[in-house]
């Protein structure tokens, strides 16, 4: 029984890792948002050259494993341009770039699902294209995207565990330390898994609340 109490004494240590995890997730989602929206707009409204570049970016960040991207940037690309980033910041950057690629797809399909009539109506009351975008298209697109966004949150949360490979002190890294320290494996990892599930439910719960608050009544698909 002493090994159990031994483990329990490490629980705060593991749960502290949630702070790093949330950092990774928040940073990744935020950066992804800042990249994803322009990328989506480029795909829907952009010229050929712009579209090409965006497609290339999307290709790379959606078809290459996160693990490979982390190592490529940390050990290769960042040092080569003289950037000395610590594991945490590198992870957030890579997660953000990756999430941006996925989020751009979410926004893109949301924008495309808004009927042409909306844009025409906006322009017919004298709005310029950018005004129509800002006041009519994007507000609707964002609301439509919320479910997809909630999904992206769940995905990034699980992907954050992969950052253990760079040594970021998030939940999984700490759990591994605990398994070495206590010699136990099953209990710590089960605990970590449950912690992730709790964080997932908590996050999607909040997002659901936001979704309900901002819903457009009667709009199909929202």
């Amino acid at each position: 029984m002493t090994s159990y109490s031994f483990f329990f004494s490490y629980i705060p240590f593991i749960v502290e890792g949630a702070l790093w995890t949330i950092c990774l997730v928040g940073g990744g989602l935020g950066l992804g948002f800042l990249i994803g929206v322009p990328a989506a707009l480029s795909q829907v409204y952009g010229g050929r050259k712009l579209k090409c570049m965006v497609e290339f970016y999307l290709r790379f960040f959606r078809e290459v494993p996160l693990l490979v991207q982390l190592f490529l940037f940390y050990w290769g690309l960042f040092p080569s341009i003289g950037l000395k980033l610590d594991p945490l910041r590198t992870s957030i950057l890579v997660l953000g770039l990756r999430s941006g690629a996925y989020q751009s797809q979410i926004f893109r399909s949301a924008i495309e699902s808004i009927e042409k009539g909306q844009l025409l109506a906006a322009m017919s009351i004298g709005m310029s294209r950018s005004q129509a975008l800002l006041y009519v298209i994007l507000p609707q697109a964002f609301r439509i995207s919320i479910p997809g966004w909630a999904n992206e949150y769940a995905v990034i949360l699980k992907d954050s565990a992969i950052c253990f490979s760079l040594g970021v002190m998030e939940i999984l890294t700490r759990t591994r330390y605990v398994t070495i320290a206590t010699g136990m494996a099953l209990l710590p990892y089960l605990f970590a898994g449950i912690l992730f599930i709790l964080l997932t439910n908590f996050g999607t719960g909040i997002l659901n609340m936001i979704y309900k608050k901002f819903r457009i009544p009667g709009l199909i698909g929202v």
């Binding site: 693990l67 490979v68 690309l77 992969i162 999984l172 591994r176």
Partner: protein, 214 residues
């Protein structure tokens, strides 16, 4: 040039391992997804709750956690899985859980009329599911399943964490010796992109072959 021949040579054997993992885990994962999805829609209270629990757990746990539980956790209770099989089982459980959601969704999207018609010619529930519902559900779920397998190919890299000598693990080793990081991981990236494209191509081919003309 010595580095390259060594690296590419080792990569080849690693590639073999990666392919073996995927070629076993992909069909198994799809089957598991079909089974779980069907259980959730047609199972009684017991079966569908069971399927729901399994799905919830393996969609909620990060794949890495599942792998660690299978490899390190189980060995604690005297079940010793070799790294390769721990990885494969982990992939099957994870993908199967996600695929079961797609299957469930596509089954529910099939109009009630199909079920009524099946019963009206005397089919039992099992016959109805096997011959009428599932053939249509699988076709509808195929794009999502293809997507999920593409993910599986990417996440196969995580097998390194339990000691499988697949392509990422080998690249990592070479990186720690030679530090030619950009070259090493760029090649790796390209390999994964190619694998992903091949898989997508295969699924698109299958989709075309079994499409219902309209």
């Amino acid at each position: 040039m010595d580095f390259w021949t060594e690296f590419l040579g080792s990569l080849l054997s690693g590639l073999l391992t990666t392919l073996q993992m995927i070629l076993i885990a992909a069909p198994a994962g799809i089957l598991m997804g079909l089974l779980l999805g069907t259980m959730r829609v047609y199972g009684g209270r017991v079966l569908s709750s069971l399927a729901l629990s399994i799905t919830a757990v393996f969609r909620g746990f990060p794949l890495l956690v599942t792998l660690f539980i299978l490899f390190f956790g189980l060995s604690e209770i005297k079940i010793y899985l070799p790294p390769f099989w721990a990885a494969v089982i982990g992939f099957v459980l994870c993908s199967g859980a996600y695929i079961s959601e797609y299957v469930r969704g596509s089954i529910l999207s099939i109009e009630e009329g199909q079920s009524l018609a099946a019963r009206s010619i005397g089919m039992t529930k099992l016959q109805e599911i096997l011959y009428i519902i599932l053939p249509q559900a699988i076709r509808r779920a195929l794009p999502s399943i293809s997507n999920e397998i593409a993910y599986m190919i990417q996440y196969s890299s995580l097998a390194f964490a339990v000691g499988v000598q697949e392509i990422f693990s080998i690249s990592k080793t070479f990186n720690s010796i030679y530090f030619k990081s950009i070259e090493i991981f760029s090649v790796l990236a390209v390999i994964y992109i190619i694998l992903g494209e091949i898989s997508t191509y295969i699924f698109r081919f299958v989709e075309k072959r079994i499409r219902i003309p309209s």
